[in-house]
């Protein structure tokens, strides 16, 4: 008799590295709830992927693009995990952040030029002591994006990158790409790319009336 029980097929197929097309179960993605029920439902794992880079491409300032990430960031700071804003384009306004539930003690801002910003974002992601790192790097290139994605994997942190929507057509190594646009006086969120999601032709989500 073989002392080691040979695994049966079901157990083999249970391995997280194996994914079957027929399975209704989504591949396992560890995620951080976005706080927006309709968006969570569309994302694999039900939220922002952890240990990965998410890109948010927005057409203009003030479409609600930051509202999209606030619930998740607020939840992190309430768990005493650090959230870093790298090179924000305006002043992150404390009263509004506090009203959104952010514990300001765990929010840090890094004021840096574009090359320094990419470096600091990578350092923060890699360090392993930051819950989420949110960056505004409009002219980042593919190689730096790739570095950020790797750093997020290494540090198991949530990387969120805000870029103008003009970059939507470019190739990107990000695990998740969302596009925030506006038409008919409402804001829509479109999932451009999502690792582990079968269809990318889902209907637009209406976020802000």
């Amino acid at each position: 008799m073989n002392a080691i029980a040979s695994p049966n097929l079901a157990q083999v197929l249970d391995h997280p590295g194996i994914w079957r097309r027929s399975a209704d179960r989504q591949p396992r993605v560890r995620a951080l709830s976005t706080g927006w029920t309709s968006l969570d439902a569309k994302l694999p794992g039900g939220g922002w992927p952890q240990g990965a880079l998410s890109e948010i491409l927005f057409e203009h300032d003030g479409l609600g693009e930051l509202d999209l990430v606030m619930p998740a960031l607020a939840a992190l700071t309430q768990e005493h995990r650090r959230v870093i804003f790298v090179a924000p384009p305006y002043l992150p306004y404390a009263p509004a952040l506090a009203a959104a539930g952010v514990d300001l003690r765990f929010l840090h801002e890094i004021h840096a030029g574009s090359t320094e910003a990419a470096w600091s974002m990578e350092q923060c992601l890699r360090s392993g002591c930051c819950g989420a790192v949110v960056g505004w790097l409009p002219d980042i290139d593919y190689r730096s994006l790739r570095r950020l994605q790797l750093a997020a994997e290494t540090g198991d942190a949530c990387a969120m990158l805000f870029r103008p929507a003009t970059h939507a057509a470019q190739n990107s190594p990000a695990a998740l790409r969302l596009k925030v646009s506006n038409s008919d006086e409402a804001t829509y969120v479109d999932v451009l790319k999502s690792r582990g999601l079968l269809t990318t032709t889902a209907p637009l989500l209406r976020m802000r009336a």
């Binding site: 057409e59 203009h60 300032d61 003030g62 479409l63 609600g64 693009e65 930051l66 509202d67 606030m70 650090r82 924000p88 384009p89 305006y90 002043l91 992150p92 306004y93 404390a94 009263p95 509004a96 952040l97 506090a98 009203a99 959104a100 300001l104 003690r105 929010l107 840090h108 801002e109 890094i110 004021h111 840096a112 320094e116 470096w119 600091s120 350092q123 923060c124 992601l125 890699r126 360090s127 392993g128 002591c129 930051c130 750093a151 290494t154 540090g155 198991d156 942190a157 506006n182 038409s183 006086e185 409402a186 804001t187 802000r208």
Partner: protein, 469 residues
């Protein structure tokens, strides 16, 4: 008891050449002001034939490019104390034996460091890394160790009998007795220590005096030898003066590395850390540049301290060439290694926030990293400040934008729709920054939601102040 003795034959030389590494043939001068003689020369100078005891003129004639410097006894004492600080990590009883030796009791430390061979290896490799050539010997008696360190490098004699046997065979010239005593004893026909050990005590006392006999007792362990214990100082101050002016930050790195290593040695001795130290670079005409290096948490490693100081130094523009560098650390707080949760998985590089914070500050500058805090003020631009967040103050009841513009700017084109408002904000008449505005939440033609205001009573002149991002 086991007393180890470390002797540094090159101490006087390295103390005089501490500021800049010697390049090319160099020699050290000693003696009276009238007649200065070469006391030591490096290998390159020796290759030209420069020898100890030559006059400066003779040495210069042999080697015109010779770099000569006078002996600096204060610097030697400081350097020796610096080495003692480093040695303090191996023993609780370290004693200075100027001009060039350190005695330390290692008998009590042997178990901790896995025996003499391991301890000796650590001493030697550590000293060589710091650039101090040395000789080492250990016996139960401090005075005997001192003698053997000079003549028999690497000798260890844990037993009294062995020490006595070795001492007996030692020529008088190496016995540590003063030159005049040795001379008179030799004149009497004595050559080795065994010859005088056999003499009756009163006879010996008559010939070489009480001091000589006391010394002979000490090297044989027949009388107690009280050695003052070195105590680590409570603050750090070191200064290196340069012979020539150094321009730019690059040449300053060598003395800087030396200073930070000395500081780290002291910190290790005190089991302390340093959270803040000041580098002062002195220029001509009493000018000086101060660079404050502050850290989020106390640090103690030499490499880390050097890196932090280096990045600060490299970002500073020096107004003039530097003549001296000084490192002052007034407070040396207790060092607490970072606490980690035993079961928490280590993510990524496993850095803690203070370490990351320091790394970022070192490269980006202190001003680049900031936190935001709430302020109880109705004026929007004054409702927040940069600084450590305090307790949550009462928040405005109305909606506020996540992005605030650094200063309001005229809005072009005018908004297409008003979504909410007006909210009258009128405050600040008491401090001269009076504000009287009607705030509206508006929508632009692109569908953006903005926070804009109008002067009360007007319908024109929209000022954009924030984005509901």
């Amino acid at each position: 008891m086991l007393w180890a003795c470390l002797r540094f034959p090159g101490l006087a030389f390295s103390a005089a050449f501490a500021a800049t590494p010697e390049a090319g043939p160099s020699a050290l001068l000693d003696g009276h002001a009238r007649q200065r003689l070469i006391a030591a020369a490096n290998e390159e100078a020796a290759a030209f034939g420069v020898r100890r005891g030559q006059s400066v003129a003779a040495a210069r004639a042999l080697c015109p490019a010779l770099d000569v410097r006078p002996r600096d006894r204060d610097a030697e004492t400081r350097l020796l104390a610096g080495i003692a600080a480093w040695c303090y990590q191996f023993s609780g009883h370290v004693s200075l034996a100027p001009p060039q030796a350190i005695l330390m009791e290692v008998g009590a430390s042997l178990r901790l460091f896995d025996g003499w061979p391991v301890l000796a290896e650590r001493l030697r490799s550590g000293l060589l890394e710091q650039g101090h050539p040395h000789t080492l010997a250990a016996t139960p008696f401090a005075a005997a160790s001192w003698i053997f360190a000079a003549s028999e490098d690497g000798m260890v004699l844990p037993e009294r009998e062995g020490v006595l046997r070795m001492l007996a065979a030692l020529p008088l010239t190496r016995s540590g007795l003063s030159a005049s005593m040795v001379k008179s004893l030799q004149a009497m026909g004595f050559r080795r220590l065994e010859d005088i050990f056999r003499l009756p005590r009163p006879e010996l006392t008559r010939r070489i005096g009480r001091d000589g006999v006391a010394w002979l007792d000490r090297i044989r362990g027949q009388s107690a030898h009280a050695l003052p214990a070195w105590q680590p100082p409570a603050s750090f101050l070191q200064r290196i003066e340069f012979d020539s002016e150094l321009d730019g930050s690059q040449p300053l790195l060598f003395p800087l590395r030396r200073l930070t290593r000395e500081l780290a040695n002291l910190l290790a001795a005190r089991d302390g850390g340093v959270q803040r130290f000041t580098l002062t670079l002195e220029h001509a005409r009493g000018q000086s540049t101060r660079i404050v290096v502050a850290m989020a948490a106390p640090q103690r490693e030499a490499e880390r301290l050097f890196e932090l100081a280096r990045t600060r130094l490299e970002r500073t523009t020096l107004p003039a060439p530097a003549r001296a560098i000084e490192l002052v650390a007034e407070e040396l707080p207790v060092f607490r290694p970072p606490l980690r949760d035993l079961f928490e998985p280590v993510r990524g590089d496993g850095l803690d926030w203070p370490t990351l914070d320091e790394r970022l500050r070192a490269r980006l500058g202190d001003a680049a990293l900031r936190q935001i805090a709430l302020v109880a003020d109705h004026r929007p631009e004054r409702a927040m400040r940069y600084g450590t967040p305090g307790p949550v103050v009462s928040l405005p009841r109305r909606r506020r934008p996540l992005w605030l513009l650094p200063r309001p700017m005229p809005m072009r084109p005018d908004p297409v729709a008003v979504l909410a408002g007006p909210e009258r904000i009128e405050s600040g008449w008491w401090d001269g920054a009076d504000a009287r505005r009607d705030y509206y939440i508006v929508r632009t033609v692109e569908g953006q939601q903005a926070w804009a205001y109008l002067p009360p009573g007007t319908l024109d002149g929209w000022m954009l102040h924030g984005w509901f991002a």
